[in-house]
């Protein structure tokens, strides 16, 4: 048994029989349990080390070879796999109540398998092609066959596809820079092309116009899943570049570029969110700000950056999960999700409203919620580097908080004398409730996942050392 077979080929192969399951609830439970099982195996069984259970010895080999290239999952990748598949399990378990299980579970399994392969592939540059294939599979995930594609879907496809050629070409140029490091012009050219590639993939300013458009058009739950998984893997892929090329890692301008890029995204995402009147678009702007947080984490001093980037993964996923699930419930009650249509919904759907608002507050970094400890650490790190950056970071956060407060005001606003009339569906309500509890738990005890997170920097040879 090899690690790539277990965490890449088996989930991808099981996606095909999953397509045949017509019962959404069974599909959701089977998919979620499979992901959970893979997560537990990653957590318990170390890669490339023999595990003795009585007379039985189990060893998972780290690599597999295909057409002269290798897929390698090192022991350090085990923690990431455990976190990743654990979070995927949560998304799959919630898929049935959001009526997306038929698309999310089979396609999600293949997408996750491809994205894990993008972390494992050697040479690592090929990850760009694997991410592109995952993007192509994301189209049927986002768009059911009975819905005409809008401009958001088309732009998503265009912008994500454009990233691949830039990254592949930059990868070739970077090898040239390695062999002649004194060639400054070549270094600048390759770094620019690489930056463009990642700007497309991460939907960086100003290439994020499609995000709010897409959010208006498609299922919030499927979108939330992609909003979590694609940027997370792209950022890890980007860290791979920094780890590989020492001149890039040590270049003086990198931290500044990341800091400015991240800050622009946090500020614009926050401010646009504050003035937004559509609930799905607000989630999109929060995601833009969230990507900005990751870039700002990258810009911290090398020893802090890796930890900070990884610390963002779990709160981001949990907040998006709760947010997307609540939005999906709301979309069934009011369409389109404009303020005028959702006004006063809190009186009938308090749990859904609470999920929506608390997830928004969590991404904004409100105290006691999952996003708070990471935002605080990030803000502290930024303040120690530059007070100006810390100030603009605060502006972005305030924008997100304003957006959340406006949404709260609209949702509880009802004509005088309107009473509370509970019309919540109990199963989504329970799942949202559990998610909200998780947001508080992570906010109050952020160290829960510390033991697993501690191994993650080991994925990189040089970064963070």
């Amino acid at each position: 048994m090899s690690a790539p077979l277990l965490w890449i080929f088996i989930p991808a192969a099981l996606a095909l029989p999953a397509l045949l399951i017509s019962n959404g609830r069974i599909l959701s439970i089977v998919g979620g349990s499979l992901a959970l099982l893979l997560s537990l195996v990653a957590l318990i069984v170390p890669i490339d080390q023999a595990l003795q259970i009585g007379n039985f010895s189990l060893k998972i080999a780290p690599e597999i070879e295909i057409l002269g290239r290798r897929l390698i999952l090192t022991p350090a990748d085990g923690s990431l796999l455990a976190i990743f598949y654990g979070l995927v399990a949560m998304w799959f378990y919630g898929a049935e109540v959001t009526r997306t299980a038929h698309r999310l579970v089979p396609l999600g399994l293949i997408i996750i398998a491809l994205l894990v392969a993008s972390i494992a592939v050697e040479p690592f540059l090929y990850a760009a092609i694997l991410i592109e294939i995952a993007v192509l599979l994301a189209v049927p995930l986002l768009l059911p066959v009975n819905q005409a594609p809008g401009p958001g879907v088309m732009r998503f496809l265009i912008y994500q596809t454009m990233g691949m050629p830039f990254i592949l070409f930059a990868g070739w140029l970077l090898t040239g820079v390695e062999s002649s490091p004194s060639d400054l012009a070549l270094a600048v050219q390759s770094a620019t092309i690489l930056g463009l590639g990642f700007a497309f993939l991460l939907a960086m300013f100003p290439l994020y116009v499609w995000l709010p458009m897409l959010a208006e058009e498609v299922s919030p739950y499927a979108l939330g899943f992609l909003f979590w998984v694609l940027p997370t893997i792209t950022i890890i892929f980007g860290m791979g570049f920094l780890d590989r090329y020492s001149w890039l890692r040590t270049s003086a301008g990198l931290s500044q570029v990341l800091s400015v890029g991240g800050l622009v995204m946090v500020v614009t995402g926050g401010l646009w969110s504050a003035f937004q009147r559509h609930l799905s678009r607000q989630m999109a702007y929060a995601v833009i700000a969230e990507t900005g947080f990751s870039l700002l984490a990258f810009s911290l001093s090398p020893e802090k950056a890796v930890d900070a980037v990884f610390l963002l993964i779990i709160p981001r996923s949990l907040a998006l999960l709760v947010w997307a699930m609540s939005l999906t419930q709301m979309k069934e009650l009011a369409e389109p999700l404009r303020f005028s249509a959702v006004q006063g919904l809190a009186r009938k759907h308090p749990v859904t409203t609470a999920g929506l608002i608390l997830a928004h507050f969590s991404i904004a970094g409100f105290p006691l919620l999952a996003g708070f400890p990471v935002r605080l650490a990030l803000w502290e790190g930024l303040a120690s580097q530059s007070l100006g950056v810390a100030f603009w970071f605060l502006i972005g956060i305030l924008g997100l908080l304003t957006g959340a407060t406006r949404t709260l005001a609209v949702l509880v606003m009802a004509p005088q004398g309107t009473g509370w009339e509970l019309q919540e569906r109990w199963r989504p309500g329970i799942l949202i409730g559990i998610g909200v509890l998780g947001l508080f738990l992570l906010g109050i005890f952020p160290q829960i996942f510390r033991p697993i997170m501690a191994n993650l920097p080991g994925m990189f040879e040089h970064l963070g050392k």
Binding site: I129, M164, P165
Partner: protein, 196 residues
């Protein structure tokens, strides 16, 4: 040999402008088919012919996928360009501007990647540039897929000179076929009563 390569680069200019200005989907796919022949020729400058043939085979398979799907759609599903600018003259004018930019930029690219040859660089830049122009002008699924396939064809012609791995060739072919399948999916993704 160089003369033929320049003729092929010229053919790529004609086909990519043709895709940009043509309104009939059959004509668009015809130009795309010719375009893949040109890409095959440029790729064969750096790859063995048997391997370069992957480009043309994959490209034509993508065209077949799109063509069959388009053929099965009702006439009422035919895309009418809703977004301005839609005039052929305007498109040809912008294509001219992009071509001028490419002619100016090609020597700089040759400095960065020496030894590939100007015809290959010019041909691939023409495809990438005009493909991007196409993508900037439309959000219609069929046209977006044509634009993306054009951009990728240009990139692949250039990248073939830099990377000759079989796995990369296979993966890029998968991307091309995947794009065609996504295009077919998007073309048939309509309200149930609108489908054939």
């Amino acid at each position: 040999m160089t003369l033929i390569a320049w003729i092929v680069a010229g053919l790529l200019l004609v086909t990519s402008v043709g895709i940009l200005v043509s309104r009939d989907w059959r004509l668009g796919l015809g130009f795309l088919g010719l375009q893949y022949l040109g890409v095959f020729w440029l790729t064969s400058q750096h790859w063995p012919v048997s391997m370069a043939a992957i480009k043309v085979v994959t490209g034509w398979m993508a065209i077949a996928t799109l063509g069959i799907t388009r053929l099965n759609l009702k006439e009422s599903d035919k895309e009418s360009e809703q977004i301005l600018p839609e005039g052929r003259l305007f498109r040809m004018f912008t294509a001219g501007i992009v071509t001028v930019i490419i002619v100016t930029a090609a020597p700089t690219v040759e400095d960065i990647i020496p030894g590939i040859g100007m015809p290959v660089i010019s041909g691939s830049l023409i495809l990438m540039g005009l493909g991007m122009l196409h993508l900037g002008m439309t959000v219609q699924p069929f046209r977006v897929i044509l634009g993306l396939l054009t951009v990728l064809a240009g990139f692949e012609a250039l990248y073939a000179a830099l990377e000759s791995s079989i796995l990369v060739a296979a993966m890029l072919s998968t991307v091309n076929l995947g794009l065609a399948l996504v295009g077919a999916y998007l073309l048939s993704a309509r309200m149930p009563e609108e489908n054939v």
